[in-house]
Symmetry: C2
Subunit: 382 residues, 2 copies
Amino acid sequence: MRDVFIIGTSQTPVGEHWHLGLRELGATAIRDALADAQLERVDALYVGNMLSGCVNGQENLATLLADAAGLLPAEAWKVEAACASGGAAVRAAALAVAAGAHEIAMAVGVEKMTDGLGGTVSAGLATASDQDYEAGHGFTFAALSALLMRRYMHETGWAREDFAPFAVTAHRNAAANEHAMFREPISAEDFSRSPMVASPICVLDAAPICDGAAAVVVCSKEAIEAHHEPVRIAASAAATDTMALGTRDDLLTLRSAAASASRCFEATGMQPRDMDLFEAHDAFTVITALSLEACGFAPRGAAVRLARDGCLEPGACIPISTCGGLKARGHPVGASGTYQIVEATLQLRGRAGTNQLHDARRALTQSIGGHGSVAVTHILEA
Amino acid sequence: MRDVFIIGTSQTPVGEHWHLGLRELGATAIRDALADAQLERVDALYVGNMLSGCVNGQENLATLLADAAGLLPAEAWKVEAACASGGAAVRAAALAVAAGAHEIAMAVGVEKMTDGLGGTVSAGLATASDQDYEAGHGFTFAALSALLMRRYMHETGWAREDFAPFAVTAHRNAAANEHAMFREPISAEDFSRSPMVASPICVLDAAPICDGAAAVVVCSKEAIEAHHEPVRIAASAAATDTMALGTRDDLLTLRSAAASASRCFEATGMQPRDMDLFEAHDAFTVITALSLEACGFAPRGAAVRLARDGCLEPGACIPISTCGGLKARGHPVGASGTYQIVEATLQLRGRAGTNQLHDARRALTQSIGGHGSVAVTHILEA
C-alpha cells in the first residue's frame, strides 16, 4: 500500500445544533477542512454517518453533502459501520488514495441526532445491535452496554464507582476544548450521584446524544505541498465480531477491537507502549476499559486500575481522549470516529492548544460500533 | 492502480421473499459467491444497501452479514449511495484490493424491501431525493421521475407509448433468466394499457419493489488461481450531480452518469462502440433513455429511437440489460448495481445461459442513484 497522509482537518463544535441540519453541519466541516489544507476542492468524498436514514429521513447523504459543499461532480458515497462509521469513512478515503484512484480525498463524519423525535434516536441507535435477537425484543443500546458492564464488574470485582475516573478525566480534558459539548469538570461524587440509565450504567457513564461534523483531507506523498503539515496514516484496519452479545464466547474480549489493533501493530512493528496518546471510543466507561484491554494497554480486568492510578491523564503513560472523548466532547455517533482522527492529528501537529501533549509523535485511534461488533483502528505518526 | 479481477459471482432469485430476511438473503449470496470462486473465506466484505435502516430497522448490516456468513473477524462496512449502492460496494471492494489492503475481497448488494409496512418503502425510496426541498414536500420517487419523463417528452416530442420498447425488451430478456422476478413477456399494448402511477409513468415503466442479493468476489492478479475464469475490472468511476431536480441547469443531462462514464472511457481508451453489452439502470424507462444518452450510445433525445429500432436487443448494436434489467429481473434497490456486475460477468464468462450473447468481450454497467444525483460506472473485460 502506498503511503497516505492527512493534510487538513476540521471540526464543528459538538452540541445541540437546533439551527443547523445535516446539510449545513456536513458542508461546514467540508469547507473548513478544505481551507485547512489550502485546497479549492477534492474529487472524492466519503461520508461517515449512521442515522441519516432512520433519524433524518435522508439517505444519499454523500451526494447531498458533495452538492452543498460545491464538490460536484466528485465521487461521493456514505460509509456505515454503526458508531464506527466515522473511522471507516477515513479508512475508505485512505484506501481510495492508496489505490491511486485519487491523489486527494476527503472523509467527513456527520451526525444530526437532535432531529429525532420521541424514541427515534434510541430506536436508531438500537439498529446497531441485532434487530432479530436483541433490539426487536426491547433492548436499547444502553441496556446492552449495561450487560457488558455488569459482567465486567462480576468477573473483575470492580464496583460501579471505580469507573468514575474515566468520566472525570474526559470532562477535565473537555474543559479546555472549545469544540466540546460539556466543558464543566465533574467529580467522582457527581459520578456516584448520577441518575441511573440502565443499571449499572448511569448518565455520567454515557456519552451524550448530540450533533456534529468533522472532516479529514488525505493525500498521496506526491500531493503534499510545502505549506502542509502532513501526518502519516501509519496503519489502518477494520474488523468484526458477533452482532448479538449472546453469541460471544467471552463478553469481556472485544475481538473486533483486538483484531484491528493487532493488525495495526503488526503492520507497523509498533507496540502499545510506542503510542503517545490513545483516542478511545469512550461511549460508555466499560467500553473504554474493554478497548484499552483489547489494544494491549492493560491486561484483562486491569484498565480500571489504569484509570484509578492516573495513567490515562495528559502527561501520564497513555493519555486517552485528550480533547474530552466521546463522553465529554460529545458523541455524534457516525462522526465520532472522524473527530478522534482530527484530534489525534491536532496533537501530532502540535496544534491541540491547551490540551497539547508534550512531543506527541504517535497516536492510536479506535472507533467501535455495536457493542464491539465492529472496530476501526488507526495509527497516526507525525 | 493495480489490476483487479472478478473471480466469483452469485445471485439469489429476485422476488418477494417472505420467508427470508436481510440476514438470510445476504448470507446466501456470500456463501454462493465463495463457492463460485472456490474459496473458504474472504477477509473483507463491503455491503451495498440503501434501506436497511429505514425499512428493516437494521444498521451495522455489514457486521451482521459477516457474522451470519462465518466471515468474522473480517473487515466489514456498508456502502450507501441510494440505488447505486450495489455498484459503489463493488467499487469499494475493488479499491481495497487495488490499494493492497486485501488480496481478495467481496462486495454483496442486498435489499429486503417487502419488510416495509404501509408507506415505509415509498418513504424510504424518497430519502434518495432531497428531504428538505423534495421529499419533505410530498414528492415520491416515482413523482420526481415523472417530472423527468414529462420534460423528456416535452423537449423531444416522443409520446408515452414510444417508451414501450424498453419495457418490452426487458421482459423478453427476463423470460429466460431463472433469477428474474417477472418472466412473462409483455407487449406494447400491455404497456399502453398499464395503470398510471405518476403521470406519465405507468406501472410498466417502473421497476418493482422486491428482495434480492448478489455478490462479487474480486482479487489481485497474484490471487487468481488456475480454476478461476477472471474478468478484469478495466475501469471504475463514481460521480455526482445535484440532489434536487430543481437546481439542475438541464434536466435531460445526467451529469453524474456522463462524468462517470467519461472517466471509464478515458481510463481505458475505449469508446461506447467498443462495448458488447450495457447493463443499464432501467428503474424507469426514462432513466434508461437518459443513461444511454449520458454514456454516449445515442445523442440527446435519440435513445428512444434506438429502442424503437431494435438496437438494444440481444445481437443488435448495443444489447442492454440482457438478463431483464431492473425492470423485469427486479430492482432490490441497494443490490441492483451488484446484480448488473454479476450479469455482465456471466456474459463475459460465457455463462449467461439462454441469454448468452455471441462473443461478448466488454461490458459497461451503470448504477444510478437518486434521479441521476449519483452514478457508479464500470467497464468489465473478459
